[in-house]
Amino acid sequence: MQRRQNAQAAVMLAPATGLISVFVFVPMLLTIWLSFQAWSTQTGFETARFVGVQNFIDIFSNSSIGRDFKAALLNTAAYTALSVVIILPLSVLLGLLVHQKLAPGGIFLRTVLFATYMVPMIAVALVFSKLYSPTEGPLNQILGWIGIPAQSWLSSPQTALWSIVLLNVWQQIGYFTVLATAGLTQIPDALHEAARIDGAGPLQRFFTITLPLLGNTLLFSAVIAIINSVQVFEPVALITQGGPVNATNVLTYHIRRVGIERAQGGLGSAMAVTLMLSLIVAIAALFAFARSRAVKP
């Protein structure tokens, strides 16, 4: 009887698990297999030639392949770290503003913030490329009114990545504010009330009640922010093309350049596998950190 039930369950689950296997696991396994091959993306898989770990050696070597890959990996890490470090605290701050009931306008603020998330990236890219123009851009003109010298924004390798991060923060902050607001609504008012009666000030209540109870929301936000940041592609492709001096050449854009433009499928796959492993390590580290914080009294 039990065996029959198991068989029926397997039959019923097969379509869904089969689809997942075909569309998720097969491409992943194929990419891993290709990362050990020399293969042009313009030819069939039958032309792939096994080269062992040579592609991985090449992407970490000191040749132009290795230097470009390592720089793209660092750029991606910096972009991700900066985005997460700015977005998470800002989303909590804005979430508090949206959630508070002392002054009106919370819902309006939430609508305005979320609106930026709905604007298509092509429109954002067009607008920001003009806003950032060093000589004629409105941002530098505004800075000039308050005595701040003109910034080079996208035109300098020192500031280009920061400028793309700011664009990302501007577009994503509404989404993460909504997440933070949802987390804040889950915290019972009674806890704040009790703390207030016990004499706790606003800052003390924030650090001892709000922030600890937002832990799960912030963990979820951090995971999503990391994944979104690692996948950044559109602003780089639309605005900077990875420049200047490869300062904004992030891994997704670089993999496209190597794997598609240059048709070096084996190298591109090795880079994709490395990116996937890096992402897994980063997310696992984040969960480990969250778990270690959770067990502390």
């Binding site: 042009s40 993306t41 313009q42 030819t43 040749s63 132009s64 470009d68 490329s129 123009s133 060093p134 000589t135 004629e136 080079s152 996208l154 035109s155 300098s156 390798p157 492709a237 639309l238 605005i239 900077t240 093309q241 990875g242 420049g243 200047p244 001096v245 490869n246 496209r256 350049r257 598609i260 433009e261 240059r262 048709a263």
Partner: protein, 431 residues
């Protein structure tokens, strides 16, 4: 029985008609280009003219930004469902033909092409003696300068040597007006590389000779040092040099708005300058590339574009595509003995490479002072090297030159890095 025969004949006739109709409507070809909307409209008009006489062929035009053209061609254009025809840059041809993405030109059209285009242009569209595309445009680099800024700086004539070039760049630089003497370009491989290569050949050097990079030459050393001087003395501001995926952006804006005194660019940007400057376009003049200390005469670099046919497209589509391209590039399709392609190119200020187009547009070419500066340069231009791994080589040298623009590399370090990387890239891609 008679009714049965009549029915059978009718069925047979219908079957033949249906199959003929199916065959007639089979040639559905697409043309992938990076041209802007105005030029695409001209190409569509030419295609409409062709399809009037060839109702069996349907032609659609797809346009993508220049920065996405090669990727589009590789990711979708190379499959059987990809574009049937594509306009490509000659430096991409070796890699595309190695990957068997482009079809050889049929013999009759190849013979016609060899008879009606200059040998150098035909050579750039050929690999191992096999012609892969019908050449259409030829681009050459020259010095563009703003006459009003020259006048204001007290400069009477464009520089002929590097010494004069540096002296003029100094006079034209005015930090208080946010004005630079010479405009470099960054964030766009050809925009970075071609002006540098033009100065290099005008100094008697080369990027590649006999398939090997020669960036370790004395002439290259002097060219790297020239760039270093322009940056260190502030005659060029890299923050004013950015390009975007459409090969426009701040570098163009700064020249158009009179904040850049001189720049080295190709003839094709005439339409962009006219669109951006209006009547002020008359302030722009063209001059040969200044000659370096090791150069013997003003030289420049040139490159060509061609239309190729997707080798993976069905045979009937390939046949229809070659027939259309033969017409489009032939002397019957345009006005006054010019080709329709030549007419489209001239609308953008681009030099058509077909010999008869040169004659058909001779008056316009000689009467347009901006273009005349380019046509005068063409005879002494060297073709940009067409080698396997050309795109990777270009992007690598782009990065090195940008590193020097932003003060990350000295001239000596940039030269060594450029030569080492180019040697490794070309050797690897040649395998």
């Amino acid at each position: 029985m008679a009714s049965f025969r009549t029915l059978a004949r009718a069925a047979g006739t219908i079957a033949v008609l249906l199959s003929t109709t199916a065959w007639v409507q089979a040639a559905d070809i697409s043309f992938l280009t990076h041209w802007g909307p105005d030029t695409v409209a001209k190409l569509e008009a030419a295609a409409a003219t062709y399809t009037k006489a060839h109702p069996d062929t349907k032609i659609t035009v797809r346009a993508v930004p220049f920065g996405d053209l090669l990727t589009t061609l590789r990711s979708s254009g190379g499959g059987s469902d990809g574009a049937t025809i594509a306009g490509i840059y000659d430096a991409w041809l070796p890699d595309l033909s190695k990957d068997k993405l482009v079809a050889p030109v049929p013999d009759a059209i190849a013979a016609d092409t060899k008879a009606n285009w200059p040998a150098g242009v035909v050579g750039a569209a050929s690999i191992g003696g096999t012609l892969y595309g019908i050449p259409n445009e030829i681009d050459v680099y020259a010095l563009n300068y703003n006459k009003k800024l020259f006048e204001a700086a007290g400069i009477s004539a464009p520089p002929k040597t590097w010494d004069e070039f540096l002296a003029d760049a100094e006079k034209l630089t005015d930090k208080s007006k946010n004005q630079q003497g010479f405009g470099m370009i960054n964030s766009w491989a050809a925009g970075v590389l071609h002006p540098f290569a033009s100065l290099l050949v005008s100094n008697g050097g080369d990027l590649v000779a006999n398939g090997k990079p020669v960036l370790d030459s004395k002439q290259a050393k002097e060219t790297f040092e020239l760039y270093e001087t322009l940056i260190k003395k502030g005659y060029s501001d890299p923050a004013m040099a950015t390009a975007d995926a459409n090969t426009t952006g701040p570098f163009l804006d700064n020249f158009v708005s009179g904040k850049t005194g001189m720049i080295i660019m190709a003839n094709w940007w005439e339409s962009a300058l006219k669109a951006g400057m209006g009547d002020k376009f008359a302030d722009i003049a063209t001059a040969p590339i200044p000659v370096g200390p090791s150069g013997d005469k003003a030289r420049s670099i040139s490159y060509s574009w061609m239309t190729v046919v997707n080798a993976k497209a069905p045979a009937d589509e390939q046949k229809a595509a070659w027939d259309f391209l033969s017409w489009l590039n032939g002397p019957e399709s345009g006005p006054n003995g010019a080709s329709a392609m030549g007419d489209i190119l001239m609308s953008m200020g681009i030099l058509p490479s077909r010999t008869s187009d040169g004659k058909a547009f001779a008056d316009r070419l000689s009467g347009d002072p901006f273009l005349k500066g380019y046509t005068d340069t063409l005879a002494d231009a060297k073709g940009f090297p067409v080698v396997l791994g050309g795109q990777e080589f270009s992007e690598s040298l782009q990065k090195t030159l940008e590193g020097m623009q932003f003060g990350q590399l000295s001239a000596a370090d940039a030269q060594k890095t450029a030569q080492d990387d180019a040697t490794e890239i070309l050797a690897r891609n040649a395998q």
